[in-house]
């Protein structure tokens, strides 16, 4: 089976600082990969490169064999909208919107009816077990619930790959375990692939494969 995502010889420099050096990786469909490393090792930069949020200094990224590196910002945004889900340690939910509206947030620019948008968002909230909290604002939800809403948001466009940056970093261990279980469930049910950026051995241990970054290089 061909890889879902392939990164080849990625380099990223910020001025004189080389954040990522000759990093290559592959993620297969339905695979859960952990990217480990200490703070400052370049793992978050690597994740941003894979998401198209940063342009690499050199190297290329293939998604389903399409080279996304030459795409401009808008094309990358559309590519992300169709293929990538992002989950952050800090959740990054919109505080003024309800859980349901937060999940529907990536769909706002799409020309779809409000009812279809609501239907799709509600289905994702059900998938993460939070349909009953649809009308609650983030401030009324626990940390675990907020991360579930963020995962539902990442899933709303049915992406092939979810990039999660320290998804359990702000959660207690029991809630963190629940989130990791949810990832495995989603992999099983929907065939979604995951790249989990973490510095937590316990989190990494749940992955199919562990990659370790050090000083910008994948070991």
């Amino acid at each position: 089976m061909s890889d879902l995502l392939t990164a080849q010889s990625m380099h990223k420099s910020f001025g004189n600082v080389q954040a990522v050096r000759d990093a290559s990786l592959q993620i297969a469909p339905g695979e859960i990969v952990a990217l480990m490393g200490r703070s400052g090792s370049g793992k978050t930069t690597m994740m941003h490169l894979l998401a198209g949020l940063e342009k690499p200094t050199s190297g290329r990224i293939l998604y389903q064999e399409q080279d996304i590196t030459p795409l401009d910002e808008d094309a990358l945004a559309l590519w992300r909208r169709a293929n990538i889900g992002l989950v952050f340690q800090a959740f990054h939910l919109i505080p003024t919107l309800s859980a349901l509206e937060n999940v529907a947030f990536p769909l706002y620019p799409d020309k779809i009816s409000a009812s279809e948008r609501k239907e799709r968002a509600l289905a994702r909230l059900e998938q993460v077990g939070l349909a009953q909290r649809a009308d609650h604002q983030p401030s009324k939800l626990s940390g675990g619930e907020q991360q579930r809403v963020a995962i539902a948001r990442a899933l709303v466009n049915t992406p092939g790959l979810i990039l999660a940056d320290e998804p359990t970093g702000n959660l207690d261990s029991q809630t963190g375990d629940e989130i990791l279980n949810l990832f495995h469930e989603l992999r099983r049910e929907a065939g979604v692939s995951f790249l989990i950026v973490t510095h937590d051995d316990k989190v990494a241990a749940t992955a199919d494969r562990i990659l370790v970054m050090k000083d910008g290089e994948i070991q």
């Binding site: 949020l53 808008d74 945004a77 559309l78 340690q89 990054h92 919109i94 003024t96 919107l97 947030f105």
Partner: protein, 417 residues
């Protein structure tokens, strides 16, 4: 565009929304109020002549006779000759000319102000018809008949059918006129056919001693002009009548209204625009601060797949909503200001050449003026201007938005915790 998200954001960030709305409102209100104020003054300046349906009056300064006996031209105005009247009537922008002959008649121990005019003209003294309170109005071809000002008639115990003498000629009173209904310009005690006034003037010693009076001359013209060409007509009349021309128009009345009006009339649009630009700058600052506060949210928009144009369109929609709300509030504010302004009155000084009373008579030297309400109003054009200004404020912000949004790097704003 998700309107629910848009209005939720505006409501949740109500302090910024109110600041933006108020800044646009103040700019719009200032701009609209200044234009309404200037418009009210412009209408007031037009009022003295509008009362007689004319846009311009033309006279010529002449010499003072040695004695004030018999018929004398008021304030020593001089005759306007037939060729000059025809040249004025032929000027571009002139829609009509109504001739009149304004005179004083000094008889032994009495004095009367008389005005000869063409009763067929529907502007100028012909408008006196609306003030007829008794009897009938002058008709074309009438001779030796006269209309009397009702208050003059009362003071002098005159009634319909009575006879009054002017320069040795008797005239029968056929109608009484309430001149207060027809305005202050061209007021006299007695009104007679133009031909009779011309005939008496052409043989009056005091007139002939200082003027080249010809039988078909007049000494006061009421001119109707196209509004857009009024200034050009004034210039044309002044050229035809020479350096002694005495021309009154809405502009010359406006000049009498004082420096405040002149300033607002000339610089009202500039001051209004400056106020509006200041308001737009405050709106820009408010939107900029809002974007800075929401940079993580905007970064998240990019991260979940919003294109830059999607974000700009969304922020612009928010800005337009704030601006339009500001425009509506500004319009309401301007309406309130205009309502207060419209309770004021404007005193428009009238040139003394148009006063019926000799300056050496009691009360004759006092200022002659018309008091009219300051008709400041918000016209549909001004209301549309408010909407236009509000949208212009949003457009100004829109010009700046792309750079600002481009400056937000999602990888940076989503990383820092």
């Amino acid at each position: 565009m998700n309107l629910s998200y848009l209005f939720t954001e505006l409501a949740c960030r109500w302090e910024r929304s109110i600041a933006g709305i108020l800044s646009v409102a103040v700019g719009v209100a200032l701009f609209i109020s200044l234009q309404a104020y200037a418009g009210g003054y412009r209408l007031a300046a037009r009022a003295p002549l509008a009362e007689v349906g004319a846009d311009i009056t033309a006279q010529r300064q002449g010499d003072v006779p040695e004695t004030f006996e018999g018929i004398v031209y008021p304030h020593s105005v001089a005759p306007l000759h037939r060729d000059e009247i025809e040249a004025i009537a032929a000027l571009d922008g002139v829609e009509g000319v109504s001739e009149a002959l304004f005179f004083w008649s000094f008889e032994d121990d009495s004095f009367v102000a008389g005005l000869g005019f063409d009763p067929e003209a529907d502007f100028g003294p012909g408008r006196l018809k609306v003030g007829l309170v008794e009897g009938r109005f002058l008709e074309p071809g009438d001779r030796d008949v006269i209309l009397a000002d009702a208050s003059y008639a009362t003071q002098n115990e005159l009634a319909l059918g009575n006879s009054v003498a002017i320069a040795g000629r008797n005239f029968e009173i056929i109608g009484l006129i309430d001149t207060t209904r027809a305005g202050q310009v061209a007021n006299a005690n007695l009104y007679l056919p133009l031909a009779d006034a011309q005939a008496m003037s052409a043989v009056a010693p005091s007139v002939l001693s200082v003027h080249d009076m010809r039988p078909d001359d007049a000494n006061l013209l009421f001119i109707k002009a196209e509004q857009t060409q009024a200034e050009a007509v004034v210039a044309g009349v002044e050229k035809i009548l020479g350096e002694d021309a005495l021309v009154s128009s809405a502009e010359s009345f406006g000049e009498q209204l004082g420096s405040l009006f002149a300033l607002i009339d000339r610089f009202g649009i500039l001051v209004g625009l400056a106020a509006f630009l200041f308001a737009a700058a405050i709106l820009l600052r408010s939107i900029a601060a809002g974007i800075w506060e929401r940079r993580r949210e905007i970064g998240m928009m990019r991260a979940v797949g919003w294109r830059r144009s999607d974000i700009i369109r969304y922020i612009l929609a928010e800005t337009i909503a704030v601006s339009l709300a500001g425009g509506v509030v500004g319009l309401a504010l301007a309406g309130a200001i205009t309502l207060v302004m419209s309770r004021a009155t404007v005193t428009v000084p009238i040139p003394w050449e148009l006063s019926p009373t000799p300056h050496f008579f009691p009360g004759g030297a006092t200022d002659f003026s018309v008091v009219v309400p300051l008709a400041a109003q918000i016209t549909p054009a001004l209301a549309w201007a408010a909407v236009g200004l509000a949208l212009a404020a949003a457009a100004l912000v829109g010009l700046w938005l792309p750079n600002r949004i481009a400056g937000i790097k999602p990888a940076e704003v989503l990383r820092s915790e």
